[in-house]
Amino acid sequence: MANTFDVVILGGGPAGYVAAIRAAQLGMTVAVVEREKLGGVCVNIGCIPTKALLHSAYIANLLKESKDFGIEVGSVKTDYGVAMKRSRRVSEQNSKGVEFLMKKHKVTVVKGSGVLQPGKKVKVGGDVYEAKKAVVIATGSRVKGIPQIGLEINKTTVISSDEALLMEKIPASLGIVGAGAVGMEFADIFNAFGVKVTLIEALPRILPLEDAEASDAVGKSYRKRGIEVIAGAKVTKATPAKDKVTLDVEAGGEKKSIAVDAVLMAAGRAVNTENIGLAECGIQVTDRGFIKVDKNLQTSAAGYYAIGDVAGPPMLAHKGSREGMFVAEVLAGQKPHAIKYDNVPSVTYCHPEVASIGLSEDQCKERKLDYVAGKFPFSANGRARGTGETEGFVKILRDKKYGEILGAHIVGGHASEIIHELAVARENEYTVEEIELAIHAHPTMSEAVAEAALDSLGRVIHI
C-alpha cells in the first residue's frame, strides 16, 4: 500500500525532521506530515529569523560605537522592514534546506494537518497514512497570551513573536511581557531599532532560569542602552485600545501605569496537543499539558512516541532534535545513549549573549552542594579587549571533592559558541582539571573558560 511507511512523523520542526532523517539513515521508510513550512517554528518564526534580526541589531549598536574603532559612518539610520525581509530570506533558505534534506533521504513530505488515529495511523485530509513501526508526535508549541488579564493576542496591539517577526513598521514604544530568552532577544532587537522598550518580568530578575550573576550582568548592559527593565513585577491589568495598550503594573509594592504602543507577549508557550487525536488513541498528557512519555519517549499508547516541545521541557530546538535522533534509533532496535536533560545547553542570543549548562549557583546552594565558583571576567581577556566585548564573564561551578563541573555560565560575546566546550566536558564527565589541561589558543575568548577552571582550583593566571 502506497500510504504505508515504517514511521509516520506528525510535525516537521527540528524534532520531527531530524527524526525523519535519522530514521531514513537507518533504513526505514518515513513520512513527515507538516501543516506549514518545513523546519517548524525554529526555522520559520523562531530561532533562525531572530538570529538574523539580532545580527542587524548588533551591527546597529556596533556602528554607534564605530568611531572608537577609527571608522566614521555619519548618522546611523535603521530600517526594521529591510532587516525583517532579510530575516525572511534567511528563514526561506533554511526551510528550503530542510526540503532538500527530506528529498535527499527519500522522506515523503505530506502537506496538511494530521490527526492521529488508532492502529498507528495518521489522517491528513482524506488520506490515511499507516505506520508499520511507529507514529512520532512532534507538533511543537506556540506562543501563549494571558487572556485573564486582558492580554489576549490580537495581532495588532497585543502581539506574539509571530507578528513581531513579520512587521514592516515598528511601534515607537513596546512593552514586553516576560524576560526569558524570547523577551530578552526582542528587547535587544527593538532597542537597537530605536523603539522605547519596557521589559516586564514577573519573577524577581530577568532571565530567571539563568544564574543570578548572569541576570545582573545583562540587566546592567540593558539599562545602559536605555531599555527599561522592571523585574518582580506583576501586570495586574491590561487595557488594549486601538493603537495603544495601558498596562497596570505592580512592582515592589508600588503601582504604576505604563502606556505603550504595543505589547509583545513572551511569557511562555503552549504545546500543540489540541485536535490531533490524542484522546482517541489513548495518549495521556501530564498535568502541565505535555504528552506523557517513558524513557524511550513512547507515550501511554504503544507505537506512538512523542518528541520535542510536546514531550516536555526544556522547550528547545536542540533538545527536540536530540530526541528525534534518539527515537529513530530506538525504532531501529538500537539502544541509544540516554539523553541527559540536565546537560542541554541554554542560550539567549541577546547582547551580551548568555549561555549556560547545568546548575546555577543558587541551585548549588539549595542542594547544599559543596562547590567552588571559579570566575573570569572578559575585561581581563586580551581578545575581548581587542574587539571591545569586555562585558561579561565565564563562571564554572566546581564540585569541591571531585572537580565535577556542576554548572557553567557565560555572559559575553560569542557565549553561545564558547559554551560547547563545557557541554562536551559535562557529557563526558570531564572535570575542571581536564578543561584546564586542554591547551587553549591565545588570544581567544575561550581562554576565559580555562581561566575560570583554574580559578576554581585557586590557580587563575591572568587576574
Binding site: G403, E429, E433
Partner: protein, 411 residues
C-alpha cells in the same frame, strides 16, 4: 568412530605434560571418568580421565613421554575398531564429533585466576569523574557495568556501588573490624595515588616486589605447655604440632589485621575477607604451597590433620590445582632444619609471608634474672606496595601475643 584422548590442561598454567604411567592398558574396557593415565604437570601429578565409554583401543605415547597440551595420546572406541591409519595422527585440529571430548578444560580453581583479574582491571573504561569518585570511595571500576557509550563507567554507575566498598583511608583495620564472613570473599580497593607512588618507587629499588622484613622473637613456653597438655588429652586421637599452632595464630591474627591479608593487583589491592593460609612444603625438586582454606575458622586438630595430609600429597605430587592456589597469606617453616631465623620470599600476588625458625632454648633476662626459655624467631616478609612497616609490625605484634598467650586466640 573412535574418540581421541587428548593431553588436557590439568592446571591453569600447564602447557605440556609428562605421561608418567598408563593405568589402563590397550584393549582394556574403560568408562567415562575412569583414570587412563597419570600425567605430571608443572605442579603435580594429575589424573587423565576417559571422556567416553569403550575400549582403550590404541595408546599413542609411551610412558615417560612429554606431550604438548591438545595432542592425541590415545583412542577409545569399539573393540577391533581401526583408528585413522596406525601412523601418528596429526595433532592439529581434532574434529569434534558428538562424543569426542571438548577442547581440554582445566579444572576450575576455587579462586578466580589472578591473571585474568589483572587483565580486566587494566582495561576499565571510565569517565574522569567516575575514576575520581572510584578512587576516593574505593569502588572497583572493573566490577561495574558501565552504562556510558561502549560500556564506559560513568558517575551514575557508581551511585549505590559506593556503600559496598570499604573506605580506603583505613589502612589498618581496628580490632573491631573483625572480618565478616557473610559478604564477598574479598574487597578490591583501587590504589590511591600515594599507594601507586610507593609501589612504583619501591619496585624500582628492589626487584619486582619490594620486600622488607620484620623479625620478632617469641617466647614459646606457654605455647609449649598448651601443646603438651592438648596432646596428652588427645592421646591416640591426634597430635598438635608447633606448626599447627603457628598457622592457627597467623590466621587468627590476620582477621584482626586485614591490611596484611591482601593481594597486590597492579591497579588495586584485594583485601581478603577470608583467610586462606599457604603452607610452604619442600618437595623433591622444589617447593609447593598447599592451602589451608578458612584456617581462622578451623580447630587446631583440623588444621593439623589437613596440613599433614596436604604435605604428604604435595611430596607425592598428588595435589590438585585448587589445593595449591588462592592463598591469601603464607607461612614457611624451616624449624625442622635447625634454622634459627630466615627470610622467605613472597608468593605473589600475596602481600606477606611469615618465616618460622626453630624453637631454641636460650638464656633470657626476666625480672632481673637470667632464665632459660624456649624461644622462636618469626620473620615476616612484606610487600611494601601493600603493607607498610607499622602495619606489618602491628600484625606481628598480635601474632607474638597470641603465641605467647595462646588463650588470646580465643579473644
Amino acid at each position: 568412530m573412535a574418540t581421541k584422548v587428548h593431553m588436557e590442561a590439568l592446571s591453569p598454567t600447564m602447557e605440556e605434560g609428562r605421561l608418567v604411567k598408563w593405568t589402563k592398558r590397550e584393549g582394556e574396557a574403560v568408562k567415562t571418568g575412569d583414570t587412563l593415565a597419570e600425567v605430571e604437570t608443572d605442579k603435580a601429578v594429575m589424573e587423565l580421565v576417559a571422556r567416553a565409554d569403550g575400549q582403550l583401543i590404541k595408546v599413542m605415547v609411551a610412558e615417560g613421554t612429554t606431550v604438548p597440551v591438545g595432542n592425541v595420546v590415545a583412542y577409545i572406541g569399539a573393540p577391533g575398531e581401526k583408528v585413522d591409519g596406525d601412523a601418528a595422527p596429526a595433532p592439529a585440529a581434532p574434529k569434534p564429533s558428538a562424543v569426542s571430548p571438548q577442547p581440554p578444560v582445566a579444572p576450575t580453581p576455587a579462586s578466580p585466576a589472578p591473571v585474568a583479574a589483572l587483565a580486566d582491571a587494566t582495561r576499565v573504561k571510565a569517565s574522569p569523574l567516575a575514576k575520581r569518585i572510584a578512587k576516593d570511595t574505593g569502588v572497583d571500576l572493573a566490577r561495574l557495568q558501565g552504562s556510558g557509550p561502549g560500556g564506559r563507567v560513568v558517575k551514575r554507575d557508581l551511585e549505590g556501588a559506593q556503600a559496598a566498598a570499604p573506605a580506603p583511608a583505613q589502612g589498618v583495620p581496628r580490632t573491631a573490624d573483625r572480618t565478616p564472613r557473610t559478604g564477598a570473599p574479598y574487597d578490591d580497593v583501587p590504589l590511591t595515588q600515594i599507594r601507586k607512588t610507593i609501589a612504583k618507587r619501591l619496585a624500582a629499588s628492589l626487584g619486582p616486589i619490594p620486600h622488607f622484613f620484620l623479625t620478632t622473637e617469641v617466647d614459646m613456653e606457654r605455647a609449649a605447655e598448651a601443646r603438651d597438655a592438648l596432646n596428652k588429652q588427645l592421646g591416640d586421637q591426634g597430635k598438635v604440632s608447633f606448626n599447627d599452632i603457628v598457622i592457627k595464630a597467623v590466621a587468627t591474627a590476620l582477621t584482626k589485621h586485614r591490611a596484611c591479608n591482601a593481594w597486590f593487583q597492579e591497579d588495586h589491592i584485594r583485601y581478603w575477607n577470608e583467610v586462606h593460609i599457604g603452607m610452604a612444603v619442600a618437595v623433591e625438586d622444589g617447593l609447593i604451597t598447599p592451602v589451608i582454606r578458612d584456617a581462622d575458622r578451623k580447630s587446631l586438630t583440623e588444621i593439623g590433620t589437613e596440613a599433614r595430609e596436604l604435605a604428604q600429597r604435595a611430596r607425592n605430587r598428588r595435589l590438585k590445582p585448587e589445593e595449591y592456589t588462592g592463598a591469601s597469606f603464607s607461612v614457611s617453616n624451616l624449624g625442622m632444619f635447625d634454622i634459627d631465623q630466615f627470610t622467605a620470599v613472597i608468593n605473589p600476588p600475596e602481600a606477606g609471608i611469615v618465616a618460622v625458625g626453630s624453637i631454641v632454648a636460650k638464656p633470657v633476662a626476666e625480672g632481673g634474672q637470667v632464665v632459660v626459655r624456649r624461644r622462636l624467631r618469626l620473620t615476616m616478609s612484606c610487600d611494601h606496595r601493600v603493607i607498610d612497616g607499622a602495619t606489618g609490625a602491628q600484625f606481628l605484634k598480635t601474632l607474638k601475643q597470641m603465641l605467647e598467650n595462646p588463650l588470646a586466640m580465643l579473644l
